[in-house]
Symmetry: C2
Subunit: 635 residues, 2 copies
């Protein structure tokens, strides 16, 4: 037998050793999940032979240097098979048996129930099915078109998750972009959580679908080590014009006769006694370590080169009419001087103005067509490779990718989203195109940044600022052109705000962002003619929030009119109230103006008025707050 | 020429007349969009021949009785082709030429930029691509399995939207359920918004994909009236074992040489002069009216029969430990005595307990596997047919369908969603499975209802109540079992709350829902031992909100501790603050306890403590609010 006791310059394991390794992976999947009292051992056992062959003989990975840019990528799209993934980590010496046994699913441990990048070898969090493959498409795009490194992206997929449309968005884009560096391995064990899958073991049906979507299918018996070895060698060769999908016929719980291919064993650890019998049947515990092949072309610089070019932001003349979506596109094109900036769009780049980047930097622009889940996943994938991705579409259509945004946060991904055409502002197209939930949706994402600039100058400054900011970042832009409010030299901090009108005798504060700020300014003018001094705040940073400025305004004026082109729940008003609540006390008279009825079509002005978020209604709301106070005083 | 001046018992139009009709549809699409100054005439013109043949010769529809249950259904999945749809409505006499010309895209008109059910002939709102076909699957499921009526569901699809994964979820389910009553007509005009589509005119590529997904493809020249007629006759025959997809090769802007098959004409009305030339080239204005075939088996009762059976709710003993997800399943199974109740689930019915319904009423249970977009769309479709749909999955995975939820509101759909396994409560599975954004997401849906019951009795009562409630309704259930708090006779109003602890000397109010209510109760016990009287409110109805009870509590105690197993943005705390803000004034000391850091795995108790939403921390927060007040008084 080959000596496998050292980790460096070991020979590649032979097939007999791989067979032993596969049994070890099964045993360890059982051991750690039984010890934890939860987990998915049977979903791990079906894919153990596949992973044993992959890890021992095909995955080019320097386990001591997960940051090595030339490493292959390994993604468990079926994230619930985490026992198998962690058993592989043990087998390559990345974690100890002790960590596996005491850490799995434990509080404070990095070996979470589903993989997250708390582990240095994990690129993206998985566990919501149908996301690992789309994320892998983004990584493979970076590898093929930007890094130009020969790494491969291997994605272990479940058969159940092939029912998610996002998997087909991924294969579609992978074939469109000729991603021969992408290999999906589908563990067709025919059993989902509650029973058989739609297609069971009909591998021919999977093959027809995969082939029709432009991928190269390879059918294999997922428990025949030699056959798997041949299939993975072929799959990883980069031959063919697009991605390869290895369709592996497997049996859930493979290797332990009491659970193998049985229903009702999904997501259940084996009770201790059963686990003991399983381990005996699997040939007992083993502690083999193996090392796969080394990465090709290793030792190159670890990150995309930012490039030396200076970014020269567009400048806008005070008072000029500019749509903030246009300012977004112009700024993005300017940022493209940095060679780490990449952009993508969901087939509306002539509306979002991402087309300006596409024209200036075609080599770093990726059209994702109408598939918003893949759009966001591609951004996550570019982020994994160290790029600075910007993804854009209509603000409303990011709702299509909310599960991906939520998971992006768990992936600790750094991605930037620009949503245009938000709110009733868009006018005649009607409610299907109006984002009226986007601020609520994005605010609730952990660690997110939510920006809603009101003019071109602030848009340019903020879009530049987010290029160097972490997390899931969202910028809402306006469809219409509105006056530039700020000199080009003005600074805009994320988490800041601007007080645009202020006197020592302010009686009320009007707060807006985007178009509603312009309405607030107009309302303040009206009120001033009536002798009412109104403070006006440009709340361009919805999250994080400039609580200090709000506290000062609450103290000085005692009255807030909050105005947003958004449904009343979870948006700007909510952010302000939550922010003040964080101080421990709220004392405030407040009117919240938002879109409370279902809008239809119309002009922007008609719809603003109908929603009661236009300047006259803002002024009315302010007067009502003042009248209520007078009444109270005199009453 | 056939006399087409009357609407009743007219003969079916011949092909020559259909050719004329197609030109009329083009001319009207141009006229109304030019008049409106916006819209998508070229996307209408490509599909005009298809719709002329369909409306005149195949669509079985009684236009005077859109409520007729035997009518075929016509859905424009490519909702931006609304000019064409409305031109069809004019051609069948449903709307006047005047309404078309003065109403299209105008404020207050029912002829919105994208179709909505403000029009009696529209089943579902479209305009977010990739939704009409999944919605159609739900309608076809109802037709085949429940209504047992021979109506067909015709869905006009764009080629661009075939990039949305949801379209493939739809075809997958349509073939799985053998929906031979469903016909998708794909208008392959090769041009998207900003340029060519991925597959251009490669109809063979579409055919391979469609066939692989179990549908019957029919290729046709989309401008050959006779060929279309033959294809639609075949498609609508119900022959074959599954859905039919008519792949029509067309030219965008067909019929006007200055725009036909040209880029940069998406979503743009023709300027008046160009429109005039186009109308000349198309042979001038026409005002034909046609009437297609009558529905088969018309005159049956219009709605699903609710059935006479009495619903007997499950009853739970006070203090017994019951997971609210289990109470959901038991109540749903009981509600199944009503023959209008249908249920579906995303392959986790043994976790959500929808399996109890599936076992009791298998004929009204539909497994949607792991495709949450199709899950929600199926519910919308059942609702179109008058059923009372309940859809369930893990709460986190409804984020996958947020665009569908948003559009369901615009569709005025009545659907009920149950999300289990929310928050850190779920424990070891980790953050990918923890809904921490669901309350924010669902609250922001227009007209939604958001419920978070804390015990089995209230769950049963509320699940029964929502069966007769309109809109998008969401119930969050607990994974774990917690004590039953209420007698079976207790009443629970939607929009209500329960005050579980109350004295005349309450110094602070603790507010929770779901698991956090139990933590609030435990905290109140602790505080009582310290001599601090705490009011406790079960805020089971997050939207609508019981503002009166909150106002009373704010007045009586002046201090709120708000506790939620959710991110701090947009959830329970936000709802309370927004609700109080609606009264015009907030004066309150407040502590908001929510999940502020990214959780990992662990036990429920470990994770509650780490998130600082467990009883001891609630008690601490209450004490801090009291101490701050004392300080202020003494300071």
């Amino acid at each position: 037998m080959v000596d496998v006791s050292t980790t460096s310059s070991r020979p590649i394991a032979g097939l007999d050793e791989v067979r032993e390794l596969a049994q070890q992976l099964r045993v360890d999947s059982i051991r750690c999940s039984t010890e934890a009292g939860s987990g998915h051992p049977t979903s791990s056992m079906s894919a153990a032979d596949l992973l044993a062959v992959l890890a021992a003989r095909h995955l080019r990975y320097d386990w001591e240097h997960p940051e090595e840019p030339a490493n292959d990528h390994l993604i468990f799209s079926k994230g619930h098979a985490s026992p198998l993934l962690y058993a592989v980590y043990k087998a390559v010496g990345a974690i100890s048996d002790e960590e596996l046994m005491t850490g799995y699913r434990r509080f404070g441990s990095r070996l979470e129930g589903h993989p997250t990048p708390e582990l240095p070898w994990v690129d993206v969090a998985t566990g919501s099915l149908g996301q690992g493959l789309p994320d892998g498409v983004g990584i493979a795009l970076a590898g093929k078109y930007l890094d130009e490194l020969p790494f491969r992206v291997w994605v272990l997929c479940g058969d159940s998750e092939m029912a998610e449309g996002s998997m087909w968005e991924a294969l579609d884009k992978a074939s469109y972009y000729h991603l021969s560096n992408l290999v999906a391995i589908v563990d067709v064990n025919r059993l989902g959580q509650r029973g058989p899958t739609e297609l069971s073991w009909d591998l021919d049906a999977y093959e027809r679908r995969v082939r029709a979507f432009g991928a190269r299918p390879l059918q294999v018996n997922g428990h025949d080590i030699a056959a798997i070895d041949a299939a993975l060698a072929d799959a990883g060769s980069g031959s063919g014009d697009g991605p390869t999908v290895v369709l592996a016929r497997t049996r859930k719980g493979r290797g332990f006769s009491e659970v193998e291919d049985r229903e009702d064993w999904h997501g259940k650890p084996l009770p201790a006694e059963l686990a003991a019998r399983a381990i005996v049947e699997l040939g007992g515990e083993r502690h083999l370590t193996v090392s796969g092949p080394a990465p090709e072309l290793s030792g190159r610089p670890p990150r995309p080169d930012r490039g030396a070019a200076e970014v020269e932001l567009p400048r806008y003349a005070l008072g000029a009419s500019v749509a903030t979506r246009k300012a977004y596109g112009e700024t993005l094109a300017a940022l493209g001087a940095r060679r780490d900036v990449v952009a993508m769009d969901g087939e509306v780049s002539n509306s979002t103005y991402a087309e300006l980047f596409a024209k200036a930097h075609p080599e770093r622009y990726f059209e994702m067509f109408i598939s918003e889940q893949q759009l966001v996943a591609a951004a996550v994938g570019f982020g994994v490779r160290g790029y600075v991705p910007f993804a854009s579409t209509f603000a409303a259509f990011f709702t299509r990718a909310y599960d991906f945004l939520r998971m992006a946060a768990i992936s600790r991904a750094n991605i930037r989203l620009a949503g245009s055409h938000a709110g009733v502002e868009i006018g005649a197209d009607g409610p299907s195109q109006m984002a009226l939930e986007d601020l609520a949706m994005l605010r609730a994402v952990h660690g997110s940044t939510v920006l809603c600039p009101s003019d071109a100058t602030s848009t340019a400054a903020l879009v530049q600022a987010i290029a160097d900011r972490d997390g899931v970042i969202y910028v809402r832009t306006t469809r219409g052109a509105y006056p530039v409010l700020y000199e080009a030299s003005e600074k805009f901090a994320i988490g800041g705000s601007k007080v645009l009108r202020s006197t020592t005798r302010d009686q009320v504060t009007l707060i807006g962002a985007g178009l509603t700020l312009h309405e607030c300014l107009a309302a303040a003018d009206t009120l001033e003619r009536d002798g009412i001094a109104a403070r006006v705040i440009d709340l361009y940073s919805i999250k994080p929030l400039d609580v200090q400025t709000l506290i000062a305004a609450a103290r000085d004026t005692g009255r807030f009119v909050l105005v947003e082109d958004h449904h009343p729940e979870g948006g700007l008003a909510s952010a302000v109230l939550e922010g003040l609540a964080e101080t421990g006390t709220i004392e405030l008279s407040v009117a919240s103006l938002a879109v409370r009825e279902m809008p239809g079509s119309g002009t922007t002005r008609e719809l603003l008025s109908a929603a009661r978020i236009a300047a006259p209604q803002i002024a009315d709301a302010a007067r009502s707050l003042l009248a209520a106070a007078t009444e109270e005083t005199s009453g």
